[in-house]
């Protein structure tokens, strides 16, 4: 087990270096003149240009620039945005909002997805099963860029149940509607997966054994059917957590949440290389760590899986 974790961590280092390199290359190697982009239409004086060029190592070869960047990253210095703000500060502002949003979305997706999937899986062919099937198809089919404004219009503007935008310091309540929108696709896929898994497991021999023991129907479902059905669903939850954090760009934009997604969007629009690379690097780490945790959790849930 320990050997497995160490091996995975070493793999993560390689993956991390690889992804940051690619993102760094994309952001830096192909930009025209970041200093001019920063200044906008105004001319940049030679003095300023020289200072900034040296500060950002702009006249060095690309690989050296990357080396400097990684050196800073490893010593905890994420650098500064082109506007001069430390990226560490930007992150500590943005991440809590995104983490809250993503966890809330995941919570709703898990709660509704698993509950509805369980009911649909136990009552296959029922009205509930068919209705949820149709609904999940609609939700999966609608892109979030359509879903988010509709939800905002209906529940925020018309019905007034939720605030339309979250604001600079979003409250948990303000995040509920964005979280539901963000988690909608996850809810649908999780529901479908749970339903399929439950439908398969209720017919399993060990469920028949459990019934033959004379256990209550509730116990058979909770302890035997659901427990075994959740193994594939857990994997999905892990993958979704990463996607929810990274994929909140549209949702954060529509609901005006100052999170990672909106900062990332801003960074891309202003060609702010350090900002984009910094955020993407952290996202990569989040992805890698959640995946590792899911794999370890998998072994806990299914004793047949062992990591040597």
């Amino acid at each position: 087990m320990a050997r497995y974790i160490i091996r995975r961590l070493l793999q993560m280092v390689v993956t991390f270096i690889g992804t940051t390199f690619v993102v760094y290359a994309l952001m830096f190697a192909n930009q025209n003149d970041p200093l001019q982009a920063l200044a906008g239409d105004r001319p940049v004086s030679d003095n300023v240009r020289q200072v900034l060029t040296e500060q950002y190592h702009l006249n060095e070869p690309f690989l050296v620039q990357y080396g400097y960047y990684m050196q800073g990253l490893l010593t905890g210095d994420l650098g500064r945005t082109l506007t001069g703000r430390p990226i560490g500060d930007v992150m500590s502002d943005a991440w809590p909002n995104t983490i809250k949003l993503a966890l809330l979305a995941l919570f709703f997706a898990t709660l509704f997805g698993i509950t509805a999937g369980l009911v649909a899986g136990l009552r296959r062919g029922s009205i509930f099963d068919n209705t949820t099937l149709a609904l999940t198809l609609v939700v999966v089919g609608l892109p979030i860029i359509v879903l988010a404004p509709i939800a905002q219009l209906v529940f925020g503007v018309k019905l007034g149940w939720f605030p339309t935008t979250a604001g600079a310091r979003p409250s948990l309540y303000g995040l509920i509607l964005p979280a539901l929108v963000l988690g909608a696709a996850s809810t649908a896929t999780m529901m479908r997966l749970t339903r399929a898994s439950v439908a398969e497991n209720v017919r399993a021999d060990y469920v028949r054994t459990a019934r033959a023991k004379g256990l209550s129907a509730r116990r058979v479902v909770a302890v035997h059917v659901l427990r075994n059905s959740l193994i594939p669903v857990i994997t999905l939850i892990g993958v979704d957590l990463g996607t929810l954090m990274a994929g909140a760009i549209v949702t954060e934009g529509v609901f005006n949440i100052p999170g990672v997604g909106s900062k990332l969007l801003l960074g891309i629009q202003t060609e702010d290389g350090p900002l984009v690379v910094g955020f993407v690097s952290v996202l990569v780490i989040v992805f890698l760590v959640t995946n590792l945790l899911v794999d370890l959790l998998y072994a806990v849930l299914d004793p047949r899986i062992r990591y040597e």
Binding site: Y206, A212, G214, L215, S216, D302
Partner: protein
């Protein structure tokens, strides 16, 4: 279809507790070379008893039969159908059997003969729908399992009547330790504490002869060999000390040497715990040493019913004769294996008349027209559903 119950007042019937051993093979020669099966073997060597155990009755627990004439488990005229896309599949058609404490009843039949469905209906784990129990009774200590409330039925299930399933690897939950699974019912139904449950789990695993039980209690099913897994299944079924144990093809997924061990274990436990054992199998070799009585099923009907020695020594029904002739035997090496021609009927379209007639070498016009009833033969608790008495079948090939 009717089933004639033998009266229990006769001294010659099985299970009277008088003259153990004398009642077996009553009226039939015990000589291993006696040609008692006619018709299937052209060389007229007939069926003989291939193992010594078949000619000497095994020691059996003496259990007094209930005085009221009631059986511990008495299934009467059970009819079960399945609604399928192709129509109604009549899977169990008027099946009756009974079993008493300390006794082993084998239900023998090919796949699809309705034996497992019958057992699942008795236990109440049949999925309804698609299955429908049309009529019949399953009396357990005089109480009808089929009409009792679901809650009362659940009390009986596992506690009074338990079941061992065929493939222990899939029948055990892969994500829980075996000790946990063995005592799950004790903990959730009888409120046994965790520590006590662990102690009981070790005790049960010892009972089914799993070596180093205390060390293996936290192992998972996939960490056991096939035979050990089946022992875990048995331990689990016995944890509540049931009065009836139904073993549904308990050895089918195992290799031959392990099969014998598991059958021995079941026989020993049945005697020790004075249980009634219902052994569902398609394997004649498996039941020979263990069963007291055998009920042979074909196309959802009981076609023959006899004590084990009579059945092996002098099978009455052509189907039973065919089954016995199909058992490979050493002294017939190189002669090719006998098989019953044709396939079992589709339960959606069971042939009219006798369901076995398309495959029966003795079939006559009347077999195609009328369905034979299960009739008693002789004085023993023995019956066959054939228009022709065994003597007539023998004579046809004499």
């Amino acid at each position: 279809m009717t089933y004639q119950y033998p009266s229990h007042g006769q001294g010659q019937g099985y299970g009277q507790g008088s003259g153990q051993g004398q009642s077996y093979g009553h009226g039939y020669p015990d000589s291993p070379t006696a040609p008692v099966v006619a018709g299937w073997n052209d060389d007229r060597t007939g069926w003989d008893t291939p193992t010594a155990a078949w000619s000497t009755p095994p020691t059996r627990a003496r259990v007094e039969r209930p005085r009221s004439g009631e059986h511990l488990l008495d299934v009467r005229d059970l009819w079960i159908e399945f609604a399928t896309r192709d129509g109604v599949a009549r899977v169990v058609n008027g099946v009756s059997f009974h079993v008493d404490p300390g006794e082993t009843l084998a239900i023998l039949g090919e796949s699809g003969s309705g034996k497992s469905v019958t057992a699942q209906a008795v236990l109440g784990i049949l999925d309804t729908p698609p299955a429908v129990v049309r009529s019949g009774q399953a009396l357990f200590s005089g109480e009808d399992l089929l009409t009792m409330t679901p809650e009362r039925r659940r009390q009986v299930r596992g506690q009074e009547i338990a079941m061992v399933f065929q493939d222990a690897l899939s029948a055990l939950n892969p994500v829980y330790p075996v000790g946990w699974q063995i005592t799950e019912a004790l903990r959730s139904r009888r409120g046994v504490s965790k520590a006590e449950a662990r102690r009981r789990a070790v005790e049960m695993m010892d009972l089914v002869q799993i070596p180093a039980a205390a060390q293996r209690i936290d192992d998972y099913p996939h960490q056991f060999s096939g035979g050990m897994r089946q022992r875990v299944m048995i331990a689990m079924a016995l944890a509540m000390r049931p009065k009836v144990l139904i073993a549904d093809e308990p050895t089918t997924a195992l290799d031959v040497t392990v099969q014998a061990q598991i059958m021995d274990l079941l026989a020993t436990l049945r005697a020790e715990l004075e249980m009634a054992l219902i052994l569902i199998t398609h394997d004649l070799g498996v039941v020979a040493d263990v069963a007291d009585r055998i009920t042979v099923m074909y196309a959802g009907r009981v076609v023959e019913h006899a004590d084990v020695h009579t059945l092996y020594g002098a099978p009455a029904h052509p189907y039973t004769r065919g089954l016995l002739a199909s058992v490979p035997r050493l002294e017939r090496r190189g002669q090719g294996l006998h098989s019953i021609s044709g396939t079992p009927p589709n339960p959606v379209a069971i042939p009219a008349g006798c369901a076995f007639h398309p495959r029966c070498p003795y079939a006559q016009q009347m077999c195609r027209m009328t369905e034979p009833t299960l009739l008693r033969i002789g004085r023993l608790d023995r019956a066959s559903a054939c228009h022709f008495p065994p003597e007539a079948l023998d004579a046809r090939h004499a």
